[in-house]
């Protein structure tokens, strides 16, 4: 049946619904654990094979040997270059790289975009579950 105002009932119903948009950054929507955010690095597992460096489509990752230490490698990530494709995580033969749900990575200072992952994002399995929870509470209070 063709009629005018077929959406009218739906529109009136919507007046009594909560807004779909959230009051970011005061309130944050829960994000999935699978979100491909910043990479976390497990220094103990890295063998310095540099497969991640070769496979990175954006030249964002660098593996260097830590001087004066035997078989210890440092991982440098350029957040400005990284496209968050998690190709490095997929190809790492020792599973030393992991994705985290950190996604608020913008910086005003350009030099802060290049980070040493073992300092900024060392992989800790027990804290990887809900890293943003404390932050959210702080912002709300």
């Amino acid at each position: 049946m063709k009629k005018l105002g077929a959406l009218l009932f739906e529109a009136i119903k919507s007046l009594f619904k909560k807004p779909v948009t959230s009051d970011y950054p005061k309130k944050r929507r829960p994000i999935h654990d699978s979100v491909a955010g910043m990479i976390a690095f497990e220094q103990d597992k890295c063998i310095g094979c540099s497969i991640c460096v070769r496979n990175c489509p954006a030249n964002a990752i660098k593996i260097t040997k830590v001087p004066d230490k035997e078989k210890v490698f440092s991982c440098e990530l350029s957040l400005a270059n990284c496209i968050f494709c998690s190709q490095c995580v997929f190809t790492c033969p020792k599973k030393a790289l992991h994705t985290t749900d950190k996604f608020e990575l913008a910086q005003i200072d350009k030099s802060k975009l290049t980070v040493k992952l073992e300092e900024v994002a060392p992989y800790k399995p027990e804290t990887q579950q809900k890293p943003d929870e404390n932050k959210t509470e702080k912002v709300n209070s």
């Binding site: 009629k3 077929a6 959406l7 779909v20 999935h32 491909a36 489509p57 496209i83 494709c85 998690s86």
Partner: protein, 401 residues
């Protein structure tokens, strides 16, 4: 006789989401002729692919388009896998199809919103885009990203679908199906929508065939052609679905085809999830691909996408050629707009769901009307090389007709 007026729409225009130029020649209120000019979005993607290894190319190709990113990357990798004779595991094919269908849902819902916005029906835009968030969240859950999913690798996929994910997908698909049923009802009942879209942008069946219209644009002119059915790729051989077509031949028909396709998409996702086989996710892929060439076809949300890849036995392709669906459909726009009103131009352009960043694969020299002959072009190139590279090509003899 009234004076003819040429109105330029674009390259920058509020109604266009991307730069493209349409010069509309008016006779009174009606469009007499329309000149389509493309090439404002050229990014040199094909050339960039020739300079990078295959693995990196799949990520470059994914960035051809923001909406059908998975379509392009799957289409490209299918071609490379064919050359390398890689047997992609069935589970990977299923996951590629599921993500591809989700992409279709988000693209069609996005189109419905954009089309509603172009005709000033912004309430529908808000509702469709709100519901699109359901599928965007689902894509973020499955792949980790909302737009460029990066789920494909050469020889398979990176991310798996777990049992928990399956339950979430089915729940979301149920919610989306209910909403889509409502949109179908709106499309069939709402008088303003029907009156505004009917007999606008008419493209007859014969014209659609002649112009080579693909995807929903062609199917709305009763061309029952769908690559998923005609040349099944990924896991589409294993599922049962209908090719939705319509005989309205106008923008209203295109809207009906798209909402109809959404219903088929939900059924495809359910079937794929039910049959999801337990095989590995990917096979190891070589870095060096043997020499050969392949053409791959893929039914992107906007229509048939073609990728041609030529390998020369190294880790980089020799040639990559893309034919995005908009390039096939944009020819038909001038036929649709003939004898149409100026006010219809924006909705008719929007009705083919144009993506100019997909389409622009070459630079069109817009000159002052003095076309160059092959001889002049050669002379210019000889001078350029002499000046910039210090090489003299004058002695090389070529037959130029």
């Amino acid at each position: 006789m009234p004076k003819k007026l040429v109105i330029p729409i674009g390259p920058q225009h509020p109604a266009l989401k991307e730069p493209a130029s349409f010069d509309v020649t008016l006779q009174g209120e009606k469009a007499e002729n329309i000149l389509v000019k493309l090439g404002y979005n050229h990014r040199g993607i094909e050339k960039a692919c020739e300079t990078k290894p295959y693995l990196h190319d799949s990520y470059i190709i994914e960035r051809v388009c923001g909406i059908c990113s998975h379509s392009h990357s799957t289409c490209f990798l299918q071609a490379v896998e064919e050359i390398a004779n890689l047997q992609v595991p069935m589970r990977a094919k299923y996951i590629r199809s599921i993500i591809g269908e989700m992409e279709r849902i988000h693209s069609h819902l996005l189109w419905l919103g954009v089309a509603a916005h172009e005709i000033g029906f912004d309430t529908l835009l808000m509702y469709t885009w709100r519901d699109r968030e359901i599928v965007m969240d689902l894509l973020a859950l499955l792949t980790g990203n909302r737009v460029n999913y990066a789920v494909n690798v050469l020889g398979g996929v990176k991310k798996d679908i777990t049992e928990e994910d399956k339950a979430q997908i089915l729940k979301a698909v149920d919610a989306l199906e209910e909403r889509t049923k409502y949109y179908i009802q709106v499309c069939q009942e709402e008088l303003t929508l029907i009156k505004r879209l009917s007999h606008v942008g008419y493209l007859s069946h014969d014209d659609a065939v002649k112009m080579g219209a693909v995807g929903p644009t062609g199917r709305a002119s009763s061309i029952t052609r769908d690559t998923r059915k005609d040349d099944p790729y990924a896991a589409y051989e294993e599922v049962d679905f209908k090719v939705i077509s319509d005989d309205h031949c106008d923008v209203y028909g295109r809207a009906l085809v798209r909402v109809g396709e959404l219903m088929e998409t939900y059924s495809i996702i359910r079937q794929l999830l039910k049959k999801l086989p337990a095989t590995p996710l990917s096979v190891p892929a070589p870095r060096i691909i043997p020499a050969g060439e392949a053409l791959s076809r893929y039914e992107a949300p906007r229509g048939e996408d073609c990728h041609y890849v030529k390998a020369n036995g190294t880790d980089k392709p020799e040639r990559v050629k893309l034919r995005a669906p908009t390039l096939a459909n944009v020819q038909a726009v001038s036929a649709m707009l003939k004898k149409g009103y100026l006010a219809d131009v924006t909705i008719v352009i929007a009705a083919i769901d144009p993506c100019f960043s997909c389409t622009d694969r070459m630079i069109v020299a817009v000159n002052d009307g003095s076309d160059m002959t092959w001889g002049q072009l050669r002379e210019q190139s000889i001078n350029w090389y002499k000046k910039n590279r210090g090489v003299d090509f004058t002695k090389v003899k070529l037959k130029i007709s």
